[in-house]
């Protein structure tokens, strides 16, 4: 076999160009027995860590199989595409110093250019190219002139480092080309070296490569023409195959191996130094110890329990040993900064396992409330860094981020990247476009995808979108969609993961500009950083923290009570009473449909119950089938099986059911015989294993191990399924505990300060699961007086107004009015004085544009002035330019208009107008007005008590069609009394398709089905009553009439103004549809 090292490989981290994952390339290189493989993406090293991890995994598998198979070496590098030369250069660093020069060169080029591109010139290469093997890739065809000058220029600067790359093209002229390259090599003195110019690991990726070309070039497959790949020869090839092509130039082949030998740099040589957080001559460790001691006094005013003291000693000892004190201090400093600015924050994730973090004020979960496994956070054996994630208020996180940049400088701090992969939706959209599917079919297909699905559409979905799966084009599109899913699409910034270094960060990894102003990002993502052992601090944003901070502020203003996350009264029975009744709209995490259903079954009575609640309604435990056993055992309907003392130690507190990530890991250790290190690697590397296809080996070992130890096969399989699920979605216990804190705090606020809580939620929008209409309704259900938007009382935000009885009323702010701008609101407030007497004065004093006045009038904002909505609108309409008011005088002089008597509005009309302006109404629910015409329908509130077949009518609030539920649709209907859950089975859906898909107001006939305290209505018959909505207000009656007359509204002439009643209803009463 001919020895060969492939030195020119473009992975799919050269976005929309490379057609194979780095893992696939490395694996294929191993199969082909290559000596080495270089990953050389265009002006990027984003894919090399993936390749590095893949190779490590291959080595592990080989070791396990005890095969002495020799694996290819990995050469990290980049393909430099210059702005001022036709020659491209493969740059392969020979040592660590050269690697640093390469990343600095790339950083330089990237910081100069806008996001995603890189501007490097020949001069830059001359400045930074020392220590790299540089392989020139001349332009094709070779008859272009002038490039030889560039070759000589670089070769003269870096003697002995430069080579001339020769890549076969299979275009019938390879031999002539190789001859010509030999001449150029002679003339310029650059030795010729064979390269494959690889784009894919196998030629079967050719169609995908063409699709990528189309996406990149913005064409379709039918117009790609000769931009497509003529053949699949840009694939990895064996040494023998290349030897056939290079039979006249064997030295070019031999040279590849020589170059590979010269490139001694390996990714694991990257030495990373964390910033030293010593301060004023105090070493980091002693500073940390001092702060921890101070924390003991602060957190435990009455003296710390001895258990905690010894625990702190242990932790500090371990931190000293692994030298992570600085890392804790960094986070401490960030958190302290946020505190000093009044920005609410709280640690999440595994950091809550650390008492030191609690003492430093990073986390808020009292260590005595959960099982602390410090080893989960830091372990000596694992040698992997801890991971502290801190949540900040979403509105003010940017302040924290900019402070970090300022403190550590942009050379030393950077956000980690997130590789944005093709998921189903994007894949369908982009591949569909390339394959010539029409836009509406694509939209329909993509619209069916539920959440972040990662699979190609099935046959049913295709048929529903009006496509025939037998059609060749469709079948190809589906195959390609499946193939492209998981491909990186572009780099984005991580939600807040910072990498900070003592030395220059750009000597480790290229830094580039993010799409957001003032952000800089490194090229590697979280997994890459993990694999290389880099430390990361997560600065995350959480909407609920904003809401809580705003609520605290309001409480301080109106109740003179100073609340913090830490001093909320714990374990308040009334709060749990409320949660048990599933009264949780607006409460963090547990407000979703699934959680609301779960609460009455879970019946939380203490903090730890909330921890379980947060952890269980997650894809991990659901996939693992853990939910039913857990709830049955908690309710005592099923006995907790004794799994032996070792397992009960792990699972005892959760009734023998693994809920948390660390429990699954411990099972691997206790029950399947993994070492702790192996178990943890299993969790961390799950993604790699899946891509490399080595997950099966782990499964066999895990299940085998459990069987050997006498566990039953089904339980073992469930546990493993859960580990797989946890890989992407699971919560560790400490994280669940941190979130449970917020659940408790927000529930406490809701229970004791409903008005303030709702006000804070409205002011922190957009966030959470519910629209303002539902939040307001919930507040009113709890007896809160909600006052309308008023030009003389409202400001931009919603506010709290005192009531005579000492309770609070909620005043809606201008932010609820559709189309209002914050700037206008500020002017209205500023110029208000003692109040506005009329519409005109708002226009004159606040300088509002007439259309803003229209908005206000439509929202009934002038009611306080004694003006009805129509009168106000009539006045506002008169203020329209181009004839401004001054003509008519400012002080009552000039022409007086004759009085106009506009018709009064009915309640129904007012409600419709409210919805038009604000998407909510304080007057009445539309159903209340329709109720007299719905004699058969039960109010939603009475469904709970109902038996047998009933009828229910309501607005559609949500429509869910989980991809996993095989065609079942879940609807939530709302009427003036409450909400009801409707389940539509596939058959019923088929029969009443139109109503289910497009209806806004539905009448459902069906049976009630009770599951514990949760009642569903199983639909048997569904009627679309959307047209009835048009009878509420006069406005819509026009639509109804034209429909009766059979008028056809032509889309071309009424562009964008669909007047059909259902279209109207769709706009007014939007539903949240999750497919």
């Amino acid at each position: 076999m001919t020895a060969y090292a492939e030195l020119c490989v473009t992975s799919n981290f050269t976005f929309l160009r490379g057609a194979s994952h780095p893992e696939e390339l490395v694996k294929r290189a191993a199969e082909l027995g290559l000596t080495a493989i270089a990953i050389t993406d265009r002006n990027s090293v984003a894919g090399v860590v993936r390749a590095f991890s893949a190779l490590k995994e291959l080595a592990r598998v080989a070791e396990e199989a005890e095969q002495g198979a020799s694996l290819p070496r990995l050469i990290p590098g980049a393909r430099l595409v210059l702005t001022d030369s036709k020659v491209e250069w493969i740059a392969l660093p020979t040592d660590l110093a050269a690697w640093s020069r390469l990343t600095r060169l790339l950083s330089l080029g990237k910081r100069r250019a806008e996001k995603g591109s890189c501007h490097i010139g020949l001069a830059d290469l001359e400045e930074w190219g020392r220590g790299m093997v540089l392989i020139a890739l001349p332009p094709d065809p070779l008859d272009a002139t002038g490039f030889e000058r560039d070759l000589r220029r670089i070769a003269a600067r870096f003697t002995g480092q430069c080579f001339l790359g020769a890549a076969p093209l299979y275009d019938g002229q390879d031999q002539e080309r190789l001859d010509r390259l030999a001449e150029i090599s002679q003339a310029t003195g650059l030795p010729k070296v064979a390269v494959g110019n690889v784009l894919m690991h196998r030629s079967s990726r050719r169609p995908l490569a063409d699709v990528l070309t189309c996406i990149r070039e913005g064409c379709t497959i039918d117009t790609i023409g000769d931009r497509r790949l003529a053949n699949g020869e840009h694939r990895l090839k064996s040494g023998d195959e290349l030897a056939r092509i290079f039979h006249r130039y064997p030295a070019a082949l031999r040279r590849t191996v020589e170059i590979a030998d010269r490139c001694a740099f390996r990714m694991d040589q990257l030495r990373y130094q964390y910033p030293d957080e010593a301060r004023d001559g105090e070493s980091a460790q002693s500073r940390l110890e001092r702060l921890a001691r101070e924390g003991l006094h602060w957190r435990y005013p009455g003296g710390p329990p001895p258990k905690i003291v010894s625990r702190v000693e242990k932790e500090l000892h371990l931190i000293a040993e692994v030298e992570y004190a600085s890392y804790f201090l960094t986070v401490y400093d960030i958190v302290s900064f946020a505190r000093s600015k009044g920005i609410l924050c709280q640690g999440r994730g595994s950091a809550a396992n650390s008492v030191v973090c609690y003492l430093l004020g990073i986390t808020e979960v009292p260590p005595e409330s959960i099982t602390l496994i410090f080893e989960r956070f830091i372990s000596k054996e694992r040698g992997e860094p801890p991971d502290i994630d801190v949540d900040f208020e979403h509105e003010r996180r940017e302040e924290v981020i900019q402070w970090i940049y300022e403190r550590y400088t942009r050379e030393r701090a950077g956000l980690t990247a997130v590789v944005i992969h093709f998921r189903s939706r994007a894949a369908i959209r982009e591949v569909g476009k390339v394959m010539g599917l029409s836009q509406d079919v694509i939209a329909r297909l993509a619209g069916q995808i539920w959440g972040w699905s990662s699979s190609a559409p099935g046959e049913d979905r295709l048929r529903e979108a009006g496509l025939s799966p037998e059609d060749n084009r469709v079948a190809l599109a589906v195959k390609l969609i499946g193939e492209i899913i998981g491909f990186p699409r572009h780099l984005s910034q991580h939600v807040g993961g910072f990498v900070i270094t003592q030395g220059r960060l750009d000597e480790l990894c290229p830094i580039e500009n993010a799409a957001m102003e003032d952000r800089t990002v490194i090229e590697w993502d979280k997994d890459d950083i993990d694999a290389l052992g880099l430390l990361k601090v997560d600065i995350l944003a959480l909407g609920m923290l904003t809401a809580i901070r705003k609520a605290f502020g309001l409480i301080e203003d109106h109740r003179q009570q100073q609340l913090t996350l830490a001093n909320i009264p714990p374990e308040d029975g009334r709060v749990y009473d409320m949660l048990c009744k599933a009264d949780a709209i607006g409460v963090f995490q547990v407000e979703s449909r699934a959680q609301l259903n779960f609460l009455p079954r879970m019946k939380p009575r203490k903090f730890y119950d909330l921890v379980c609640e947060v952890a269980i309604v997650r894809p991990g435990p659901i996939q693992g089938g853990m939910v039913h056993p857990f709830i049955n055992r908690r309710q005592g309907r099923e006995k907790v099986e004794d799994l032996g003392p070792a397992m009960m130690e792990v699972l005892g507190r959760t009734y023998g059911v693994p809920l948390f990530q660390e429990q699954a890991m411990q099972i691997a250790v206790v029950a399947a015989g993994f070492t702790p290190a192996e178990a943890d690697r299993l969790r961390r590397s799950l993604a790699t294993f899946k891509r490399m296809g080595t997950i099966g080996g782990f499964r066999d070992r895990f299940v085998g191990g459990m069987l050997e130890r006498g566990y039953d096969a089904e339980f073992a399989a469930r546990c493993f399924a859960q580990i797989e699920g946890f890989g992407s979605y699971g919560f560790p216990e400490s994280h669940a505990a941190s979130f449970a804190r917020l659940v408790y705090v927000s529930a406490w606020l809701k229970r004791h300060h409903q008005a303030i809580f709702t006000c804070a939620l409205l002011n922190a929008q957009p966030m959470g699961f519910y629209a303002p209409a539902q939040l307001v309704r919930d507040a009113r259900d709890h007896g809160v007086e909600v006052r309308p938007v008023s030009v003389n009382d409202s400001v931009w935000d919603c506010t709290i107004e005192p009531r005579a009885d000492g309770s609070h009323a909620l005043r809606l702010g201008f932010r609820q009015v559709k189309g209002m701008r914050e700037e206008d609101a500020i002017w209205i407030k500023a110029a208000r004085g003692n109040g506005y007497p009329d519409v005109e004065s708002v226009w004159r004093r606040a300088g509002l544009r007439p259309d803003a006045l229209d908005r206000l009038a439509e929202a009934d904002g002038f009611a306080a002035l004694g003006l009805s909505r129509r009168d106000a609108l009539w006045q506002a309409k008169a203020l329209k330019p181009p004839k401004p008011l001054p003509l008519f005088g400012l002080d009552g002089e000039g022409e007086h208009e004759p009085l106009v008597d506009l018709p009064r509005m009915t309640l129904g009309q007012e409600v419709i107008e409210d919805y038009l302006a604000m998407r909510l109404s304080l007057r009445a629910h539309p159903l209340e007005i329709l109720r007299p015409n719905l004699p058969e329908s039960l109010p939603a509130a009475s469904v709970l008590q109902a038996k047998g077949r009933i009828q229910l009518t309501g607005l559609v609030i949500t429509r869910q069609r989980p991809g996993t539920a095989s065609g079942v649709v879940f609807l939530t209907l709302e009427d003036e009394t409450g909400t009801a859950n409707v389940v539509v089975w596939k058959k019923v859906y088929e029969a009443f398709r139109a109503a289910v898909v497009a209806g806004r107001l539905l009448r459902v006939t069906g049976r009630t089905e009770r599951d514990g305290q949760v009642t569903h209505l199983i639909a048997e018959r569904i009627e679309d009553l959307s047209a009835r909505l048009s009878t509420i207000g006069h406005q819509l009656r026009i639509g109804a009439e034209t429909e009766r007359a059979g008028e056809t509204v032509r889309p071309t002439r009424t562009a964008g103004r669909a007047r059909h009643p259902r279209e109207q209803a769709k706009k007014l009463f939007p539903s949240r549809d999750f497919h």
């Binding site: 275009d171 019938g172 002229q173 031999q175 002539e176 050719r206 169609p207 497959i221 039918d222 117009t223 790609i224 023409g225 000769d226 497509r228 790949l229 003529a230 053949n231 699949g232 029409s438 836009q439 509406d440 329909r444 529903e464 979108a465 009006g466 060749n472 084009r473 190809l476 129509r870 609108l873 009539w874 309409k877 329209k880 208009e897 004759p898 106009v900 506009l902 009309q909 107008e913 398709r993 139109a994 898909v997 497009a998 006069h1034 406005q1035 009656r1037 026009i1038 009439e1041 034209t1042 007359a1045 059979g1046 056809t1048 509204v1049 032509r1050 889309p1051 071309t1052 002439r1053 007047r1059 059909h1060 279209e1063």
Partner: protein, 487 residues
């Protein structure tokens, strides 16, 4: 005034050409989405409506059949209807894209009254398969509103009482204005009449008042009749039947002069001319002639008819001729002395002559196309219907000058072949260049390329010819094929 509204015009005419059972809709592509444009009553009945995205419509009604809308054809159909309605009044005009307005002053008594006139009109339209609603009122605005809301007749003096309860949108005003009015509670036309005019105009503009006045007859709005499009046809009836080609050609030439004069005065040229020959026994023969470009030269056109006329069986004799320019295009007056134009003219005439004998499809032109598949790297199109486009200069990879469907080689030895025979000639290889590997276009099922990847070689033979040979390694076959000859 008579207003006629065709609520389903587009689908009616489409269905008239090719009827379809069940729900049917025409679709229109607007900004990358396909929406329903016009539907038949069955489709409306199942809950579909115009403007709805096609995909939604399919989800609601999977059996819906659709065709793309043809706006030009719709316009033409409306024009045809307009000409036809002149039977009800001399002044008829199009009103939007789906309605007509006819001035029927003094006409109704001919039909026995207004109601009878409408009945006659609607019955005739129904027989023609076009659904319609029509109304007669004193004003155009009144008739328009009523036609779109059920139709009928508004007796003299009844405008306000009939229009008053109608929504303001019946006033032919823009949707935002109508919406603004209804928001103020001014839903009906009668509501408007109660509001002082100046404040109303200040808020909604003078157009609103104009429309209101036009509907209620306080402001006149005449119908401007549209001129009929010129018709390019001439005819001649002969006192004695004729039968000889020369005689027919003689008459034809006289007709052609008249036709071309007509064309010249309208600055039009003919792209197709039809000659109808009426035999004594009332049967007819037709000769059609196509022209490579618009022209109105009687001599040239006459020459093109010669062959066709010669082939006509004159039977007992021909006593009538009718000549029509069936397809016309604008054509500016000739520029005398422009050699370039004259040459082009002559060339077009040559193409017309050849086209009329061999068929216009036989006279071809090549246009560049982009594909790596050799036979798809250009397009072959009728020369009369496509302007030439320059081929980009491209010399790589090398391609033969002659291309033909793959022909299997015989007696091949060696790979690439050292010896082979092709078209019953033996060849030995002098030099071989290759391979050039070309894969089929994976998205396009090309029967010729089903055998998969081809490795092409350029073989220079000792016998002279330089051939383009290939084999198909994927098919497992060891056969070699020739597909082209190099220069």
């Amino acid at each position: 005034m008579l207003s006629i509204w065709f609520p389903r015009l587009a689908s009616d005419i489409s269905l008239r050409a090719r009827p379809v059972e069940g729900p049917f809709a025409l679709t229109l592509r607007a900004s990358n989405a396909e929406n329903l444009y016009c539907l038949n009553s069955t489709a409306s009945a199942v809950g579909l409506h115009p403007g709805m995205p096609l995909a939604d419509a399919r989800a609601v009604c999977p059996v819906l059949s659709t065709r793309p809308a043809d706006l030009i054809r719709e316009g033409r159909a409306l024009e045809g209807l307009r000409r036809w309605t002149s039977r009800y009044g001399p002044h008829a005009a199009k009103d939007g894209t789906d309605g007509l307005i006819v001035d029927v002053s003094g006409v109704p008594h001919l039909f026995g009254g207004e109601v009878e006139l409408l009945a006659d009109l609607e019955a005739r339209l129904e027989r023609a398969g076009v659904s319609s609603k029509s109304a007669i009122a004193e004003t155009r605005g009144g008739a328009w509103a009523l036609a779109r809301r059920g139709g009928g007749v508004i007796p003299e003096g009844g405008l306000l009482s009939r229009l008053g309860p109608m929504p303001v949108s019946a006033l032919r005003i823009e949707a935002p204005v109508a919406e603004g009015l209804t928001r103020l509670g001014l839903h009906k036309i009668v509501d408007l009449t109660a509001v002082p005019r100046a404040p109303l105009a200040r808020r909604f503009g003078a157009e609103l008042l104009r429309r209101l006045d036009q509907a209620l007859g306080t402001q006149a709005e005449p119908v401007a009749a549209e001129a009929d499009a010129p018709h390019f046809g001439v005819r001649m009836t002969l006192p004695e039947p004729i039968g000889l080609t020369a005689d027919v050609m003689g008459v034809l030439d006289r007709l052609l002069v008249r036709l071309c004069d007509k064309l010249a005065s309208a600055q039009m040229g003919a792209r197709a001319v039809r000659l109808e020959l009426q035999r004594v026994d009332r049967s007819a023969a037709v000769v059609d002639v196509g022209l490579a470009r618009a022209m109105r030269d009687p001599v040239r056109i006459s020459a093109l008819f010669l062959k066709g006329v010669d082939e006509v069986d004159s039977g007992f004799g021909i006593d009538g001729l009718r000549l029509t320019a069936t397809v016309t295009e604008p054509l500016a007056p000739e520029q005398i002395g422009n050699a370039q134009a004259r040459a082009e003219d002559e060339l077009s005439h040559l193409i017309s002559r050849i086209g009329n004998r061999l068929g216009f499809d036989a006279v071809q032109r090549f246009l560049p196309a982009s594909s790596r598949i050799p036979e798809r790297s250009f397009l072959t199109v009728p020369a009369a219907y496509a302007a030439p486009e320059p081929f980009p200069p491209k010399r790589r990879p090398r391609r033969p000058i002659t291309l033909f469907p793959a022909e299997a080689l015989a007696q091949v030895s060696g790979s690439p072949p050292a010896r082979f025979s092709w078209r019953r000639m033996a060849f030995t290889t002098l030099r071989a260049h290759g391979p050039e590997r070309i894969t089929p276009e994976w998205w396009f099922d090309n029967p010729a390329w089903r055998s998969g990847v081809r490795d092409y070689w350029r073989i220079e033979t000792n016998e002279g010819p330089r051939l383009w040979l290939f084999r198909t390694p994927q098919s497992g076959s060891r056969d070699w094929y020739a597909q082209g000859v190099f220069l």
